[in-house]
């Protein structure tokens, strides 16, 4: 988001500079040090792998693959932030992803055809399937929340049971079969089969950059309107330039990944045309990544600008105080887990669309990746602290490590050993950082 600094102590763990010190360069920029640290770690990882792979890691092709591989876990990680901030845990997200994926696969390949008599390939099929999956995911999540909030069963137990239950409900739903191929429109949410193309990607980049600048400007105006102090104009400009550069750079990278000639030939052939000489096209921004960006924005607004988000952080900080302030913490728990369930279903769309089929083992161990992403991203298991962008960065860092090591040729067991060690290290660094800065 545009205004990360001092104004948002609620959602923001790394806060402004201590009082009474001369404002240095970083203090004037009012940047979130934790965010900077994570971005720094990510850039370091990318550069190291780029050297180790002889420049193959930071190619447009690999950046493209990295982003589409991250989306599914990252979407769920944003929901896990709310769960962990309120001192709960959700171990069932991978299984919930499997159940909702199974439901959506069955809906679009069998159930909807039988019930409504829709023909295979009908344009309403993917949307009805997605709607069905989102409803099922939200309902299961809300049910989990009811067991935790109203019947006061610990979240660990409810979701540990859920891990077994929903994994096997998915199995039962499909009889253990792989269901595919999925609907063509549905598969556009998976990544490579659904991208915006060069032009729309640039349009998106410009709109996003304009929105970011507007966000900065309007936050500044609001502060001035109330007579609060604002950072110097040059600092505001520097932050804005940085954000715009990042957006444009990212889109430029994705737009540089050209569609291979044989794929183009095949596409033209399918339309009964011949590929013109010298014709090239690039993939651009994947729809799944666009989906993640939308989720990130919505979840950030929920976290920082809505009462729901405020109550989530207040309850995480001090459950008794939240209760005494008149917050219905039980209903809040239901809402949080319902959001988690909804996001699991959304991730299931991306994950199954990327594979182009539903498989029985889809989402296996995702609960651990999602929790690790949230925690690496600075979400405190003791509650009350966490950010949406942190969780997404956490997911990106984990995916970079995993695919970077695979490219370098690290043996599979070592890959997991490293990822596990990084998780523990990240929490240790976070603890040391908080002790130093005096944050709780």
């Amino acid at each position: 988001m545009s205004d990360t600094a001092t104004h948002d102590t609620g959602a923001d763990a790394g806060d402004g500079p201590p009082k009474g010190q001369k404002r240095g360069l970083f203090a004037s920029l009012e940047l979130d040090m934790r965010l900077l640290g994570m971005i720094g770690a990510f850039i370091l990882i990318a550069l190291i792998f780029n050297i180790l792979t002889g420049g193959r890691f930071l190619t447009p092709r690999n950046v493209f693959n990295l982003t589409i591989q991250t989306v599914s876990v990252a979407i769920m990680a944003t929901g896990m932030v709310f769960v962990i901030v309120t001192r709960h845990i959700d171990l069932s997200v991978g299984s919930l992803l499997a159940t909702t994926s199974a439901v959506m696969a069955m809906l679009q390949t069998e159930w909807l055809l039988q019930i409504f008599g829709l023909p295979l390939g009908h344009s309403a099929l993917p949307w009805l399937a997605i709607a069905g999956g989102l409803i099922v995911g939200t309902a299961i999540g809300a049910f989990n929340g009811y067991l935790i909030g109203y019947l006061t069963i610990p979240a660990f137990i409810v979701t540990l049971g859920g891990l077994l239950i929903w994994r096997n409900v998915a199995w039962y739903t499909t009889n253990g079969q792989t269901i595919g191929p999925l609907n063509e429109t549905f598969e556009k949410f998976g990544g490579i089969s659904g991208t915006l193309g060069t032009t729309w990607s640039w349009i998106f980049a410009l709109v996003a950059a304009a929105a970011a600048l507007y966000g900065l400007w309007s936050a500044r105006r609001t502060k001035q309107g109330h007579g609060f102090s604002v950072k110097p104009l040059w600092a505001e400009g520097a932050v804005g330039a940085l954000i715009v550069a990042a957006i444009l750079g990212f889109i430029w990278m994705l737009n540089s990944y050209e569609i291979p000639q044989r794929v183009l030939e095949r596409d033209f052939e399918a339309r009964g045309e011949v590929l013109p000489e010298g014709y090239t096209a690039a993939y651009g921004l994947p729809i799944s990544v666009l989906l993640l960006i939308v989720v990130a924005l919505v979840m950030t607004v929920v976290a920082r600008r809505t009462r729901l988000g405020r109550y989530i952080f207040a309850t995480g900080g001090n459950p008794d105080a939240a209760e005494l302030s008149g917050i219905n913490t039980r209903l809040l728990t239901v809402k949080i887990f319902a959001i988690m369930g909804f996001l699991c279903a959304l991730s299931a769309v991306v994950a199954s669309a990327r594979l182009s089929f539903h498989s029985n083992d889809i989402g296996t161990l995702d609960e651990l990746r999602v929790i690790a992403a949230a925690v690496i991203g600075g979400t405190a298991l003791s509650g009350g602290i966490g950010t949406i962008y942190g969780a997404i960065l956490g997911a990106l860092i984990m995916q970079s490590l995993q695919s970077g090591m695979a490219m370098v040729g690290v043996d599979a067991p070592f890959q997991n050993i490293v990822v596990g060690a990084v998780l523990i290290m990240a929490v240790l660094i976070d603890i040391i950082y908080r002790k130093r800065t005096g944050d709780t």
Binding site: D8, R305, F313, D320, L324, S325, G326
Partner: protein, 252 residues
């Protein structure tokens, strides 16, 4: 006093497990009056008052506000009756800043339904400017504040929303002499505005000074009657607290 009491707590009882924490206690409170609640730790003062603030649900008895029976089942109900509470623990969310805590559960929103952070901070600056003019840490989480600053945030929250009934559970326990003086002045001012205040305190001198009447509790029961503080000495009050004996011939 012939007028209807602002608050009547009639025959309140509440038990936890086998322990009768509050045993058939009745207390009333008039507008513009400060009633002190005295007693040892575990005497039942805080528990009694939590039945009024909605934190606990009483087993039996009734609450009347302005003579009408009030159903208070949770803190939201209490707030609806303009009952505000400053808890001994302060009940602040440590990870949030002063404005977020002040408006917790009653956030100001813009037309879009999103929270109006700017307006909330501006209001917080106003009310804190009155209560604690030196307070500057508006963007720090309250965990970074001193005991007195945290207390002033809790007090600001209670007085900001036009409370008619104020419950203060040991409001000066964590404060230095100067800040204690500030709270005493505030109580005087609120009294003049016609609020009814329940003041829970350990310090008999403070109760003598600030309260109009005082009730002493021991083992969940009221010791004798509620007394006018001017009719008793501090020794009388201490006797009631320690020995549980009511001084003779004194009643309010």
């Amino acid at each position: 006093m012939a007028e209807t009491p602002l608050v009547e707590l009639n025959d309140i009882s509440i038990a936890f497990g086998g322990v009768q924490a509050v045993d058939h206690v009745s207390v009333y409170l008039y507008p513009g009056e400060v009633v002190g609640l005295l007693g040892h730790n575990g005497a039942g003062k805080s528990t009694l008052i939590k039945c009024l603030s909605g934190a606990y649900r009483m087993d039996s008895g009734e609450v009347r506000i302005n003579g009408e029976r009030a159903e208070i089942n949770n803190p939201r109900d209490a707030r609806a009756y303009n009952i505000e509470t400053i808890y001994q623990t302060l009940a602040l969310a440590d990870n949030l800043d002063a404005a977020s805590n002040l408006f917790l559960g009653r956030e100001l929103t813009t037309l879009t339904g999103l929270m109006d952070e700017g307006a909330m901070e501006a209001e917080t600056r106003k009310v804190m400017g009155r209560l604690n003019p030196h307070f500057q840490k508006f963007s720090s989480p309250v965990s970074a504040l001193s005991g007195g600053q945290r207390q002033s945030v809790a007090i600001a929250r209670a007085v900001y929303f036009n409370a008619r009934i104020l419950i203060m559970d040991e409001p000066t326990a964590a404060l230095g002499p100067q800040e204690t003086r500030m709270v005493a002045d505030l109580i005087e001012e609120l009294k003049k505005q016609g609020l009814g205040i329940f003041l829970i305190d350990h310090d008999v001198h403070q109760v003598k000074e600030l309260c109009d009447r005082a009730a002493v509790m021991k083992n969940g029961k009221l010791v004798g009657d509620v007394v006018k503080v001017d009719d008793v000495t501090t020794d009388d009050l201490l006797g009631m607290i320690i020995a549980g004996k009511a001084p003779e011939g004194v009643a309010a």
